[in-house]
Symmetry: C2
Subunit: 278 residues, 2 copies
């Protein structure tokens, strides 16, 4: 059963102890959907315990990391889940939860990315995307297969219609380049006194859309066969690797030492680099 696939490594991760019920339900739903569908293709999480759950020396920031690698000949390279909780000097807290899935170079199909960054009860940045693994300008057929035929744009638009939703632009231009044209990258802000409206948006809008996009990814990408020649495979490996090395540098490479101190950051980022192969 799906529960048996969870070794000890999943316990702390799947608790999501610091987020609201709808936010936790959403994350647990995404993780269990992936594991129910792909679990038999995945190794259990064998990360060291002090990487599965870690914190900074003062305890004001803590986090969990969960990684399961694909078992050959699975198309899945690995799935990576994480949450980060960090007390803010202003009294509130920052909570980030994410689930991403990376495919191997045996397929050129897009990866999956979900991230919810909650900097206050009324403010969220949401990212849901199937990041492409090829230059979409050069491969219109690929664009059509994974982005047009799947109607991903309709999901982006349905969320964009909410008055609380505004487009979000990453401060990193490189990160912007990684997203697909149907990426959901939005800031959701509810009125200062309305955290319950945010919970409603997460439950009624973010949750179903995230599950739909994940379903598309599972059907069309993780489980769909694609022909990939040797030259193309080499290109995919090069591109995947470059993206991972740039992402580590831009994203966690700078924020983790700040959040968790240099020692913990080095330990955790080292493990992530290992899985990324960079």
């Amino acid at each position: 059963s799906s529960m048996e696939q969870h070794n000890d490594g999943s316990r702390k991760f799947i608790e999501f102890p610091f987020v609201s019920a709808p936010h936790k339900d959403l994350m647990v739903g995404l993780v269990s959907t992936v594991e129910n569908r792909l679990g038999s293709q995945l190794h259990t999480c064998t990360l060291p315990l002090d990487v599965q759950h870690y914190q900074n020396p003062s305890g004001s920031a803590q986090a969990s990391l969960y990684i399961r690698s694909g078992i050959e000949p699975s198309l899945v390279d690995f799935i990576l889940g994480s949450w980060i909780h960090c007390d803010l000097p202003t009294g509130g807290a920052l909570n980030i939860t994410s689930l991403s899935a990376y495919l191997s170079a045996s397929t050129d199909a897009p990866n999956f990315l979900f991230e919810l960054i909650r900097s206050s009860p009324t403010s969220v940045v949401l990212i849901v995307d199937l990041p492409p693994r090829k230059d979409l300008v050069l491969y219109p057929d690929y664009l059509q297969t994974f982005y047009e035929n799947t109607q991903l744009e309709s999901r982006r638009q349905s969320l964009a219609k909410l008055p609380e939703v505004q487009p979000y632009f990453s401060s990193s231009l490189y990160i912007r380049c990684l997203s697909s044209p149907t990426a959901i990258m939005v800031r959701i802000e509810t009125k200062a006194g309305q955290p319950e409206r945010m919970e409603e948006i997460i439950k009624d809008h973010v949750d179903p859309i995230a599950k739909e996009v994940l379903g598309i990814w599972l059907d069309q990408c993780a489980c769909g066969k694609r022909e990939v020649g040797e030259t193309e495979k080499a290109c995919l490996e090069k591109r995947d690797k470059l993206i991972k090395s740039q992402t580590v540098e831009i994203d966690i490479g700078s924020s983790f030492p700040r959040l968790f101190g240099p020692e913990v950051a080095e330990r955790v980022v080292g493990v992530i680099r290992e899985f990324y192969g960079v």
Copy 2:
């Protein structure tokens, strides 16, 4: 002088007879800036007269096209200016003005694109970009040179701050893929009774920003030397050509027959295809 470079071909184009004074000033300013700087590298416009200015059988839609090719060894392939005016069944008019510049495969530097689509006195879609000619994911140095070091993002942000400005998403996913991460792609809407506020935004915000972006393009792209090897040159040619052929198909290939009737559309699109080499 710059006026002598205008042969007869430029006269109808540079009139911009259907747009407001600030809109015309902006366009004339952009065209004359390009021609003052690059004019000596460009052939005069030798398009047939019935392509320089054309209209549909009923006269409800008319337009002008202006193309000047680069003279070897200029890095400029060609510059293309156009305006389109079209009476709307609702009583108003649609006015599109654009200026784009395409570089040759002797450089990999970005192209220039400016487009102002005015569907009513209070509603505009604005596109200002230096469309990249390489996959930015694979070339972070290129991203840094042309997009980070040039501070293009600050121009995008200064416009995005205006309350009348909202991000604009092209209905074509392929067109979205062509833009840079600092592309200005916005919809500007002023209140129904405030066309004069739109004129103010065009004069005080769009005009200076468009000129700054054009200045960056002239300094860093049109006049900057880049090393391009033979293999890379072939890649650039392939990518440039694919973009042009897709763009013709998506954009003018479908709208021109509708606007101008099949015969006129065929004539004009044929000429554009010739310059595009597709």
